[in-house]
């Protein structure tokens, strides 16, 4: 009997038939997440509906030494939920109940499959919302947000998912159920929630999340400002920040990204602009009004063309539609594209954009730029035609060179999309072996058998168990061909 059959035999008696997917065609529908270039058909798919079912599946995996991967809505852009060919894919999107909304406590308890925007929609009538707002918020799950420590346009002011989680139920890689944190804002001891958020499913599976709800602001103003060039727009951003304003969001799009968005959603952005800024201010009405005047003045200092202030939610929605649909929109102007996710110190925006266009020219590809200008998180979209021989390689070269550029400026290889399977190979460019080894000490505490989403984040697994200096002979993982020594 294969190991997968052993797992199946263990869990089947305890689960309803529809929870288990063995049919190959149906398994194939789970072969990738939002990063479709990496595809693997999982050996078995389990659709779970409770913490107990997750624990059951994970315990069986642990017993028979089978890797498992948790999947939420599958919208991740780094292959974090890419299945394991010999492993179990645990589908969390069937756990989608909002268990409690408590406005007085500013808390909600949700199952991990709950869609991000649904929580805000449910909390809105109470005057609250869930602040993390990735562009995929209408489809992505909160469990996925926790795994990736998702950001979004508004995290400059409100912080990432990690700042909005106060408690979680974790099923460990051994299948134990552990409660971490709770309703209170502070619990003693090591910050387990802090490391779980953004661990990309490699430290176990979160099956219930207590989140902090944020008070809806009294006023929101959304401005769309056209500039002649990305340089001018970038300087305006610097001036706005140094004027002491902390906008809820500042987003920038360049001419090519504007063209794509216009074709896709007819967002009616200023015609002929070399760049647009979307600036959102929120807070007490009096602050927002004062800040709006400052933003407009600083934008004019840098030759702003059209400045449009959304008069109502419809117009605000249209401005955001252009920005939030930008990734998909480039599909209108190019058959294929790679979404990149680098970070630079914000003040280096001008030179970095110039270097990106040099890279694009040298590689013979086009690059559209969409980014969170407030925090230096760039999303260059490398456009290419995969049907033309050699173009895919050129696009990948350009994409890799852009990451190297971010690192040479003291930045990061990922601001919000995560490392996943896509960028594991870039980790050694950002971190030393000692750095990576240290991170994996933590992994050894949570997942010593290397079963929880293996192969993601780190290019090479660390051997757990005995500390290195006491190791003698071959490690079982090494013998099993699952790991290599450093």
């Amino acid at each position: 009997m294969s190991r997968i059959e052993s797992v199946l035999g263990r869990i089947e008696p305890h689960l309803p038939p529809q929870a288990i997917v063995t049919d190959e065609n149906e398994r194939k529908t789970y072969e990738c997440d939002g990063l479709a270039v990496h595809r693997t058909v999982p050996a078995l798919v389990v659709r779970v509906t409770s913490t107990a079912e997750v624990a059951l599946a994970v315990r069986a995996c642990h017993e028979f030494d089978v890797p498992f991967v948790a999947r939420g809505s599958g919208t991740g852009l780094s292959g974090g939920a890419q299945p394991h060919a010999e492993g179990v894919l645990i589908v969390m999107s069937t756990m989608r109940d909002i268990l409690d909304i408590d406005p007085a406590a500013q808390r909600a308890i949700v199952q991990p499959g709950v869609i991000n925007l649904n929580l805000s929609n449910e909390a809105n009538p109470h005057g609250y919302y869930f602040a993390p707002d990735p562009s995929s918020q209408s489809v992505c799950s909160i469990g996925g947000n926790v795994a990736e420590n998702s950001g979004g346009a508004h995290c400059l002011k409100y912080g990432f998912t990690t700042n909005h989680v106060t408690g979680a139920t974790l099923v460990t890689a051994q299948g134990d159920i552990v409660e971490i944190g709770g309703d209170a804002p502070e619990y003693p001891g090591y910050d387990l929630l802090g490391v779980l958020c953004g661990s990309e499913g490699t430290l176990g599976i979160v099956t219930e999340v207590t989140v902090r709800l944020t008070r809806l602001p009294e006023a929101v103003e959304t401005l769309l400002i056209g500039f002649e060039s990305t340089d001018a727009a970038g300087e305006a951003v610097s001036d706005i920040i140094s004027a002491g304003i902390m906008p809820a969001a500042i987003e920038m799009m360049d001419a090519l990204a504007i063209e794509a968005a216009e074709k896709a959603v007819a967002c009616n952005y200023p015609e002929g602009a070399g760049a647009v800024l979307v600036v959102e201010l929120d807070g007490p009405a009096v602050d927002v009004e004062l800040e709006r005047e400052t933003v407009i003045a600083r934008a004019r200092d840098h030759g702003a063309g059209e400045i449009r202030v959304a008069v109502d939610d419809v117009e605000r929605g249209l401005i955001w539609k252009g920005r939030k649909s930008a990734f998909a929109a480039v599909g209108r102007i190019s058959p294929d594209y790679i979404v990149q996710d680098g970070v630079i110190p914000r003040s280096r925006l001008g030179p970095v954009l110039a270097s990106i266009s040099t890279i694009a020219e040298e590689c013979g590809v086009r690059v559209a730029n969409v980014f969170h200008a407030g925090d230096g998180n760039l999303h260059p979209l490398v456009l290419f035609d995969g049907s033309v021989e050699g173009q895919t390689d050129l696009a990948e070269t350009a994409s890799g060179r852009i990451l190297d550029l971010c690192l040479s400026e003291g930045g990061s290889i990922t601001g919000e999309h995560g490392v996943g399977s896509d960028k594991a190979k870039f980790m050694p460019r950002m971190f030393t072996n000692e750095d990576l080894d240290t991170m994996q000490i933590l992994r050894c505490a949570f997942d010593p058998d290397y079963l929880s989403n293996p192969g993601k984040v780190f290019p090479t697994p660390r051997l757990c168990g005995e500390p290195p200096r006491r190791t003698s002979g071959e490690h079982p993982l090494q013998a099993a061909g699952k790991a290599e020594l450093f």
């Binding site: 944190g181 001891g189 007490p284 914000r346």
Partner: protein
């Protein structure tokens, strides 16, 4: 190396720090870390170190970039020096720190290791969210960094968060990158009698930077709201708070602001914000019942320091009663632990209670420091 390892050392670089730790590790000597010495009375004293490391030599400002809202500095730099540096760009450190510790020379590394926090935990992001990256020296002397110096970064595990609040038990913080914040032009304070109004203010749209509650033994509680920003805005929001709350009046920064009450024992109680008014009432009733004074001070977000006992009595019994009563009352929505106490009290009370996830914490400690040499006994639950 023939020279004997000293008992006290003050390294000037991360390499020197690493060398010292490597040697202490080889000799199996427990290591203590000294920053500004402002939290020495907090947490149990732990084992006497065989090597005490004074971090004062690692006080360099490594990078300050106002345009990027970041500051990178050695762990030994003091919070007040760093705020002075940030002020040159009309900015300040984003998290709020306890004023009494800052005044006494609290350092960046110490503030991070002890997860120090001031009243403005509502309007500002918490410390754990704004430590962008750290360089640490591990128990065996390995130098490792995590995170970076950009405000947004999800590459790899966030070990900076793991180190935040670890009390030096997982690694020694050598330097850190933190986020800065535009310095608010002005602040305004409103005083409201009682604690009942606190939740209303927290849930209002005046965007308070802080809502703190202070209650001295035998008296009514007072809620103080702080708003900050542009003068016109502060004035308007202050007025709104006064109009919405009967008895409220404009005030100035109270003398106790961001300072811990002096008492033999301090208990840190953290509760769901919804339970805050009830917690304040519980404390008043408890004080009447047991006859020991209890000072309450903290944020309406749900984190309070309770000063227990008078200066001339043994606080052990009072501490035990307060801890047990709160834990029974608050159940899972509350955590109550001893923050500061005389040596005699630590052994005689259940200082930590049930810590969610403690088994995992124990495993993490064993993985990072298998020989138990880093600040042994300084962490929670004996870690």
């Amino acid at each position: 190396m023939t020279e004997e390892l000293p008992r006290l050392a003050r390294p000037d670089s991360v390499e020197e720090l690493s060398e010292l730790v490597t040697r202490a590790h080889r000799d199996s000597r427990p290591i203590g870390v000294y920053g500004g010495g402002t939290a020495l009375d907090d947490h149990p004293p732990g084992r006497t170190p065989g090597l005490l490391i004074d971090m004062g030599g690692l006080d360099e400002v490594i990078e300050h970039s106002p345009g990027d809202l970041i500051l990178v500095a050695g762990a030994g730099a003091t919070i007040s020096e760093l705020n002075d540096v940030a002020a040159t760009g009309d900015q300040q450190l984003l998290p709020d720190f306890p004023a009494d510790r800052t005044d006494s020379g609290s350092t960046l590394g110490g503030a991070i290791a002890t997860r120090a926090v001031g009243p403005r935990r509502i309007g500002r992001l918490p410390l754990r969210e704004v430590v962008l990256g750290v360089t640490v020296v591990l128990a065996d002397g390995t130098i490792a960094k995590a995170g970076g110096k950009v405000v947004k970064n999800v590459a790899g595990y966030d070990l900076a968060k793991l180190m935040t609040g670890s009390w030096g038990t997982l690694g020694i913080i050598a330097s850190a990158a933190v986020r800065l914040y535009p310095k608010p032009k002005t602040q305004g304070y409103v005083e409201i009698p009682g604690a009942e109004a606190a939740l209303g203010v927290l849930g209002s749209q005046v965007a308070p930077a802080a809502v703190d509650i202070d209650r001295s033994p035998g008296t009514e509680a007072t809620t103080v709201v702080m708003v900050e920003g542009l003068p016109e805005s502060v004035e308007s929001r202050t007025r709104q708070i006064i109009e919405a709350n009967p008895g409220a009046k404009a005030g100035i920064e109270p003398s106790w602001w961001a300072r811990r009450a002096q008492a033999p024992v301090t208990i840190r109680a953290s509760v769901s914000p919804a339970l805050v008014p009830e917690l304040v009432a519980q404390i008043a009733r408890l004080e009447d019942t047991i006859g020991y004074p209890i000072q309450l001070r903290g944020s309406a977000m749900g984190v309070f320091d309770l000063g227990v006992g008078g200066l001339d009595t043994d606080p052990t019994i009072a501490t035990r009663v307060v801890l047990e009563h709160l834990r029974t009352w608050g159940q899972k929505q509350l955590s109550a632990t001893v923050l500061c106490a005389p040596a005699s009290v630590w052994g005689d009370v259940d200082a930590w209670g049930e810590i969610p996830g403690f088994g995992l914490m124990r495993t993490i400690k064993d993985q990072f420091d298998p020989d138990g040499l880093l600040s042994p006994g300084r962490g929670i639950g004996g870690l």
